[in-house]
């Protein structure tokens, strides 16, 4: 069995910062990531065997990605890439699976969970059609492989990610039919005073806005995508104006012929691993999700288990980095490594940066918070659980039979029992149960993650160390 002092789960900005600082404070560190390349979703980039010819197009994020990869390589951390953490035992033994190697175990004294986030799914008629992608998924394919998933694209949702996605799709040669944003320009303006002081973020916004203007990409504010249609794949996307609660106004629909619809309504934190570790979670109505409790050192309710980055709530790469630094230093300290003057200075500076970036995150959180109408777009026949194909009507039937929580609905309908383990559907099912029963969302969302958090071959569960031909990471 592998052993380490600090196991860092996730190699995005938070995980890399945590690994680097815990290592610099004297701890032995092992960093694990399911992807073959460090950087996380935000710093995805074309990696070996791709050779970048025009780094200017990839912008400062590419520079940053390379810088982070260098920092990680230069640190003392052991890197387990292409490795899935599919379970965790009580004594902090992490159950790993690597396509190249098979099953492995890693025993850690402290764990830092920096597992990131994924696109918050929103169900509407046609959302399961091929060609309807999450905004993050389209961005990922474009960023890491320079493959454009459609020729004529509509980008819809709410939040700051839509702008860079539309910009990079247009840059790569797709015709972007429009960017559809649920909030209004006025709502943006009313928050603008809270952007003062966050000059880097403001510069980014201006840069994307200018690029979209130059590419003549139409913008639609106060509108949402209400349905997608097509035979076998998406051919048409329909948008409509919405009221303040994001309920569509009848008669305002307008359709676009597209072969790709990218939908992004912000993100949900990946919580399977902190919850498997027993970390207490609290419902945050402003983020519309549960989040792990933690103290100023990013230590969770379980001693020796730390959380950092999007795992603690959605806040962006810079906030994630500050939290990673704090968690890395604090984890090393907890294991008896004494922070020198440099370490203490770094801790203080990271705490200050965290407060600064949190203010911006709170502003975005408030501006782009989901509103009830967005959860009412799905029709009776619309699948809510994509894996098990459970529709709105089937969930409503379970509620009529007496189900008052997602767990009870799961018993009736199999909602959340497919390979995604409820990552996609549990919030949608919870919104539906809350609406139908009048119970608060925090009370009805009661699914518990169980290992394996993602499917692994049966030989792995049977304890056989299977050696399968390599697949995940390129040779």
């Amino acid at each position: 069995m592998r052993q380490t002092e600090v196991a860092v789960l996730g190699a995005g900005p938070a995980g890399i910062a945590a690994a680097v600082t815990a290592g610099s404070a004297g701890a032995s560190v092992t960093i694990v990531d399911e992807s073959c390349h460090a950087g996380g979703q935000i710093y995805r980039h074309p990696a070996e065997p791709f050779r970048v010819r025009r780094p200017d197009v990839l912008g400062k994020e590419y520079t940053r990605a390379q810088q982070l990869a260098r920092e990680l390589t230069a640190s003392r951390a052991e890197i387990l890439a292409g490795t899935l953490v599919w379970g965790i035992e009580e004594d902090r033994t992490l159950l790993l699976f690597r396509e190249e190697v098979g099953a492995e175990e890693l025993k850690a004294k402290a764990v830092i969970v920096a597992a990131g986030a994924y696109d918050r799914p929103i169900a509407f008629p046609g959302w399961t059609l091929p060609g309807v992608w999450t905004a993050g998924g389209a961005q990922a394919m474009l960023k890491s492989q320079r493959i454009v998933p459609g020729r004529r694209v509509l980008v819809a949702g709410a939040g700051p990610l839509l702008l860079p996605l539309a910009q990079s799709l247009a840059e790569a040669g797709a015709a972007v039919a429009g960017v559809v944003e649920a909030t209004t320009r006025l709502e943006w303006l009313l928050q603008s005073h809270r952007m003062l002081g966050h000059w880097d973020r403001l510069r980014d916004i201006v840069r994307y806005e200018t690029a979209l203007l130059r590419a003549r990409v139409p913008r639609f504010f106060g509108q949402v995508v209400v349905r997608a249609d097509g035979a076998g794949q998406v051919e048409r996307a329909t948008i409509a104006e919405v009221d303040r609660q994001w309920r569509p106004k009848p008669g305002t629909e307008r359709s676009f012929e597209v072969d790709l619809l990218c939908v992004g309504y912000g993100f949900l934190s990946s919580l399977e691993l902190p919850r498997l570790l027993g970390c207490e979670v609290v419902y945050h109505p402003s983020q519309g999700q549960y989040l792990p409790k933690h103290d100023a050192n990013m230590e969770s309710s379980v001693a020796g288990v730390f959380v950092a980055g999007e795992t603690t709530g959605i806040g962006g790469a810079e906030l994630a980095r500050a939290e990673g630094e704090i968690a890395g230093l604090a984890a090393a300290q907890r294991l008896g490594h004494v922070l020198g003057a440099e370490g203490r200075r770094q801790m203080q500076a990271a705490q200050e940066r965290r407060r600064h970036h949190l203010r911006f995150a709170r502003m975005l959180e408030q501006l782009f918070a989901m509103r009830p109408g967005i959860y009412e777009l799905a029709e009776p026949d619309t699948p809510i659980c994509r894996c098990e194909e459970v529709t709105v009507a089937e969930i409503q039937a379970a509620i009529r039979r007496g189900a008052t929580s997602v767990r009870a609905v799961k018993g009736w309908t199999r909602v959340g029992m497919g390979p995604c383990q409820g990552r996609i559907c549990s919030h949608l099912a919870a919104e539906l149960v809350a609406r139908e029963t009048g119970r608060p969302l925090g009370e009805v969302l009661d699914l518990t993650p169980r290992p394996p958090v993602k499917p692994v071959p049966l030989q792995v569960l049977a304890g056989l160390v299977g050696n399968r031909p390599g697949a995940c990471c390129p040779p």
Partner: protein, 109 residues
């Protein structure tokens, strides 16, 4: 589409060309691309059909969360196509169990 197919000066130079067998048809891809990437570059959208409603599905989350883009690879079984890199000679099957059952029942009818 790979960006160079959309008339843009390519940002990247791709890896070595490799051929995949997708349901017996040869598809050209490049090392470093995922199976989902290679299929998407070919303009393929539906990777499988669901068991209950027989609906087409393809890439949705694109980052290994949703398991909608699952395909069958010889020697590996059912894998998320967005998470697995292409290899020379890789045999990929988009014909899921349901489709196969339907095909075989049709053949015996």
């Amino acid at each position: 589409m790979r960006e160079e197919q959309l008339g843009r000066e390519p940002v990247v130079e791709r890896g070595e060309p490799v051929d995949l067998l997708v349901d017996g048809e040869v598809i050209r891809a490049y090392t470093g691309e995922t199976i989902a990437g290679a299929l998407t570059a070919e303009g393929r959208r539906a990777f499988r059909h669901t068991e209950k409603r027989g609906e087409p599905r393809g890439v949705f989350c694109g980052i290994g969360i949703c398991f909608d883009c699952v395909v069958t690879v010889e020697g590996l079984g059912r894998v998320r196509s967005c998470m697995v890199s292409v290899r020379p000679g890789m045999k990929v099957s988009l014909q899921d169990r349901v489709a196969q059952t339907r095909e075989s029942s049709r053949a015996t009818d």
